[in-house]
Each structure stands twice: as structure tokens, then as C-alpha cells.
Symmetry: C3
Subunit: 275 residues, 3 copies
């Protein structure tokens, strides 16, 4: 049976880029099920794509092929397919996009450069390897082709990697940054709940949330949105395991903080004035 493909990119849905990749997969591997994990990765944001793929692995079938495309240097990067130590297969550009996922999957077992004339669609558009190289490679893997059919082997140590910026965790204080802002204005931070514990902030009743622009508020830890009254500030572990700043409806946390992706946020125990 044809294996399924999970597909993520920064393509959005304004154009046909996602759709034509689906058409190519349907052409090469009829009946292949393609799950669109997300095509809303911020344009060219390799780090956000890498993180989403890594965070999502537990929810993706083990025998699904992961096809990921966020490629500011399309036409220059090598196109790679990677088998992880746990057997998972990844297809994407060699710019670190796949690296956080393969680390979750135990590291790289083997990798190839996708150049086989029997795989790629000629002529390859220099600016759309997703359609002409990566989607065909994923389709062939879904059909059961071995990795070695796609092209020559690559030494794992030559593959590009990305790593997430780590927050600075001090007693009573965390200096972190914004990973993402969602539809409801929730501000996702690069902080795991274990780091909140390490800073002693999990026991604080009032946590000051501040930004360089002066925006901020006083939050408490909550389990979910429903724990907040209107206008309240909360810190919640989000579904991907990241700490997020949220506000009770109708206040928008991102707007109140005045932050965008990549910007700094400080979390600290609020000290009583004059106390």
C-alpha cells in the first residue's frame, strides 16, 4: 500500500504552489494520501518550519514521508532525503529545515542528494524545486522506492543543521524570545515548562511579562483559556509544549505586548512595590 505524505511549507494558499505539488504527487503515486500539516510557516522562516516538523512528529504515522519546503536559497541548496535512525523518512532542502526533526528521530542513519534522472522532473525550474525535485522524491518514497534510488549518498556530517535559540534562565527571571503568534494573539515563547520550574517561576503567583517597548502585564500560570477572565493575563503550556502568553478575551496578548516573532520577552517574579 502507498504510504502517506505529510507536507509543510511557507507557500501559503494564495498561489498554486501547494496545489501543483499535490498534482505531481497524485500523478506519480495515485491514491497517495497527502496531509497538509501547515503551509502558513512565515515566509523564508526555516527555524519556524524546522520546529513545527519536530514538534509534530509524535502525531504523524511512523511510516509517513515528511516533505518540508522552506527554502530562501532555492536553486542553490542541495535537495536531500534523509532516513533517521528510527526509520522515519524526510525530504527537503539541505538548509537545516529537517534537522530538528531527525534529531527527535534519533539522528541521521543515511542521506542522499536527490539528483536521479529517473526521479526529478526535467526541466527543473531553478526556483521551484518543490515541484520538480522534492515532491517527486516524496512520491517515489511513498511508493516504496529505496532511498538509494533518489541519488548518491551524502555524509551525514555534511548536512546543514539549525538549533533553537535557548532562553536565559536565572533565579526568578527568564529572558526569552517569541517563537510565533497565533490567530488569537497568543504569544508562543521559546520556553519549556521545565525551564519555568528551573527559574522558580512556576511557584510565583504573579509573573511580570515585559518587552523592550514597554508593553506587558502581570500573569499567572493557567491550564487553558477558560481559566482566564476577560482581560486577565496568563502563562499556559501550549499544545506543542511551549510556554505561551495569553489574555482573556477580548484582549490580544500580542498586541498588548507589542511584540513580533523573534523579539525579546522577559518573565520575572513580580516584587511588591516598596515591599
Amino acid at each position: 500500500m502507498t504510504r502517506s505524505i505529510v507536507f509543510l511549507s511557507d507557500f501559503g494558499f494564495r498561489n498554486e504552489w501547494v496545489g501543483v505539488c499535490h498534482a505531481v504527487i497524485d500523478k506519480l503515486a495515485p491514491g497517495c494520501s497527502v496531509v497538509d500539516l501547515s503551509h502558513g510557516i512565515p515566509p523564508l522562516d526555516v527555524q519556524a518550519g524546522a520546529l513545527l516538523l519536530a514538534d509534530s512528529l509524535p502525531f504523524i504515522r511512523h511510516d509517513t514521508i515528511a516533505l518540508a519546503v522552506v527554502d530562501p536559497s532555492v536553486g542553490r541548496d542541495r535537495d536531500i532525503a534523509v532516513e533517521a535512525e528510527d526509520g522515519r523518512l524526510f525530504v527537503g532542502p539541505d538548509n537545516g529545515l529537517l534537522s530538528q526533526a531527525w534529531r527527535v528521530a534519533g539522528g541521521v542513519k543515511s542521506a542522499v542528494s536527490i539528483t536521479s534522472a529517473s526521479i526529478v522532473l526535467e526541466p527543473i525550474s531553478p526556483s521551484f524545486h518543490a515541484r520538480d525535485v522534492l515532491a517527486p522524491a516524496a512520491a517515489h518514497l511513498a511508493l516504496g522506492a529505496p532511498l538509494t534510488d533518489l541519488g548518491p549518498a551524502l555524509a551525514p556530517e555534511t548536512l546543514a543543521e539549525t538549533r533553537l535559540a535557548e532562553p536565559l534562565v536565572e533565579p526568578g527571571k527568564i529572558t526569552c524570545e517569541v517563537l510565533d503568534i497565533n490567530r488569537f494573539g497568543n504569544v508562543q515563547l521559546n520556553v519549556r515548562s521545565s525551564q519555568l520550574v528551573a527559574a522558580g517561576l512556576d511557584r510565583a503567583e504573579r509573573i511580570l511579562v515585559e518587552t523592550p517597548t514597554g508593553g506587558g502585564g502581570v500573569a499567572r500560570t493557567v491550564l487553558t483559556y477558560a481559566d482566564l477572565s476577560s482581560g486577565d493575563w496568563g502563562l499556559m503550556v501550549d499544545p506543542r509544549g511551549w510556554l505561551s502568553v495569553i489574555c482573556g478575551n477580548p484582549v490580544n496578548a500580542a498586541q498588548s505586548l507589542g511584540v513580533a516573532g523573534g523579539e525579546v520577552v522577559w518573565l520575572s517574579v513580580e516584587r511588591a512595590e516598596g515591599g
Copy 2:
């Protein structure tokens, strides 16, 4: 054969929320066909979601499982699966979102609270029951699991319900509200064509459309967009059976009326001035 799932939510496509639910379904029920009815329900608008599901039933296979998620109180609401009297299956939060659909389907035959350890994905994220509770439940139903596998039975009379606001229909006048505004600026009203007849407005050649902000125009009943010349105002029964205010291209009815969802609109027979 695996049954199909129809999926609607207020998740949008900016994030991976829709995609990761698809991944979970693909993992639990390989080959299950999932139709995305809409993920553009206005955020947290339970009423809009309830209405869309109910209106769409005639176009959905009878043996398809309906998975619906609009849940301002996620983590607090019960998660339910409902079998309607006509045999249709619905999965969603117990906040009324499913209630207009099950009334169309003859009412509730049986209902369960989705809590079975063999169904839900642990640890359940308090803010993402769609991924960890609802999508898995829908996948198991698609595979043919009986409702009772999902959790303990619920008394139908304990389930939350929503009802649509009814317009005020008087001779020559209807006071109604905006259900939705679409991509082309069409203004969907909570009025059925039978109510236009009841008010006698179907026979009026000129119908005054007014709003509290002073926006408005004089419309006539039309069958479709093509019946309007540029700038003309029309009242049309839309594909879901609701009366809609439309304007001939390039005029935008919603902008000209100055209305948003939930706001009041008055329809009345235009009286000749000084006539």
C-alpha cells in the same frame, strides 16, 4: 471500508491546528478521507459553526462522521459524540455547536462523553482537545467503532443547545441581523425566503435596506448576481437558503451598509415620498 469525516472549525490555516488533526486521523485510520468543510468560522463563533454544519447536511454523505470544533471554553466543556435519530454521527464540544445539525437529523438518539482511555491521546493538552480527544474519536468512528467505545452515555437532555435568533417579521417590514459577510461583500441575513413572503416583501418592487449607522440602499429581489447591473442593489436567496443583500460589481454591499456580523438590518417596502 473506512467511512469519511467532514471537518469544520474556527482554526484557520495560519497554524498547524487543522493539519495536525489530519495527521492524527491519518495515523489512526489510514486511508480515511477527510473533507474540510470550512476552517474559516469566525474565531469562537459557536453559532456560525452550528449553522454551517446544519445547513450543509444535505450535501454530506449520510455515513460520514461530522467533526466540528469551535470551542471558546476548551478544557472545560465536555467532549461528546452524538448519534442522531436518522443515524448520522457528530463529534464536538458540548457547547451547542452540534445541536442545530442534530435537530435537522431528527434529534439525539444517543450521546456519550469521550473519555475512554483507549480513544484519547495522553497527555491531553487542556487547550487542544481537537487533536487529543475529538479527532481520535472521529477516527475510531470512521473505522466502525460503536459510540459506546468512546465513553459513558450522556442523557440527551443534559446536552447544550443553541438556537438561531429569529427575525421580527411584520407586515411590510423585517427586523433581522447579519449572519455572515462573504468574500464578495454579500451580506447574509437570518431570514428565510418564506419570511420574506410572510412580510409581503416578495411582492415589493423596491425594498429599502437600512442599518442603524445610516447605510443602505433600495433593492429588488433577484435570482443571482448576473441579474444586477453595476451598482444595483439586490436581495437574493443564497445557496444555503438565506436572504442576502448583494450589490452589482464593483459595489461592496457590506461596506455600503456599514455592517458586521450580528448587527441589525431593516428591510421594508419603500414608500413614495409625499405620495
Copy 3:
């Protein structure tokens, strides 16, 4: 085996229009794979839809049914199904939307008007033939129904056609127009690379890009985005074969040019001042 359907429209994803057509196809042809090529065609832009379908044919399975819906005159246009000389099947309104694709496919072999009572869903909504006429027709074709099941034959010469505006190509100069602007601000022009050669611009080191509003820059021909440094201007053949104006990140070509779809752009060899 059920054939697949490729679906494109100007519906967007804000409403349920795309989703309810999927539901109808799933109801009539269970297991039919539907590829969403794009639903981001600019609203009512028949020309853009026609061009996308024609450009995408090489990437679509030969036995896939193409369902296309961009229909400013819905309810007035005939709904048609067309078999091209090469055997491809197209379903859409009779407004030229399918015409550029069937020309690529060798011209019209036969055509029918979709009116058969065994195909359409009654009552047909005058403003949503996609759901009630076109999607059902595509589903029946996917199941293997002959074209003649859909309704009476139409004479090919009575079908509406559209043609793309051709650029004016002169020695050292091209007067063209904007086809589309993408997510990254790239400006797609109605110029093929052969026309760049015909004007002698392919050999120019510096190509002046100008617009009536005074926006513009000096570009060079490049293969892909990665060939540009920050702020550089380039002319690139895009993945669909059209010449596009691009700028090195973070400059947005469309904003710098100050152009929208359909507007004029001039390309010419830059002459040295006073040279």
C-alpha cells in the same frame, strides 16, 4: 478505479464553498481523490484562472478531471463539460475559463451542456452551480460516466474562448502587463523567455523596468532568487514559464514598482546617460 479531480476556483477559504463541493464529490464518488490546485484566483478573474489551468496541465495526470470555477455570470452561463482532442476532460462554466487549457490539449473534441436530471442536484441554486451542477458532473466523470450522460452535445464553435493579451515586442523594448503578484511580491509578466530573446533583452546587462507611476529599477536576468543580493533587481523565468520581476530580500518588487494585476510595465535596455 475512480479517477481523480483537480479543482481550481476563486472561492478562497473564508467560506464553505470549496468544502461543500468536496462534500458533494465525496457523496457521489466515495474515495475520489480531489487535488485543490488553487482557490486563490483573484475573485471573478476568468483570465487568471484560465491561464493557471493551462499552465498546470503538464503536472496533472492525463486521466484527471479538471473542475474549474470562476464565474462572474453564474446562473446565466451554460455549464459545460469538454473532452479535448488528447482525451483530457474539463468541467466549468462556458465563459472561456477552460479554453486556454483545451487549446494546450489539442482543441475541443466534443462538448456537452450539463443539464441531465440524473446529474444535477435539484433545486439548483442560481448562484452556486459549482455545488449543484459542476461538482456533480466532475464526480460522475471521475466514476467513468461518458460525457454524453451529462447532457446534450454542444457545437465546439459556440463555446466561449479567452486569449491572453500579447506583449508588444520591439527591438530593445517590451511593453507588457502584470499577470499576477505573489506572496513574496514577485511581479509575473505576460512575457515568455522567447520574447525576451526576440527583443534582444536577454543579452542586456542592465534592463530598465518602469511603470506609468514612476516606480521601477534596473534589473539583470537571473536564474533564481538566490542569485540576487539584498535590494538587487532581477528578471527571472518563473516556474510557469513567465518572466517575473523580483527583488533581493527584503525589498518587495510589486511595492517598489507600484503595480497591480493588469497594469502596464515597460522593459528596455538601459542607455548610459549622455553616453
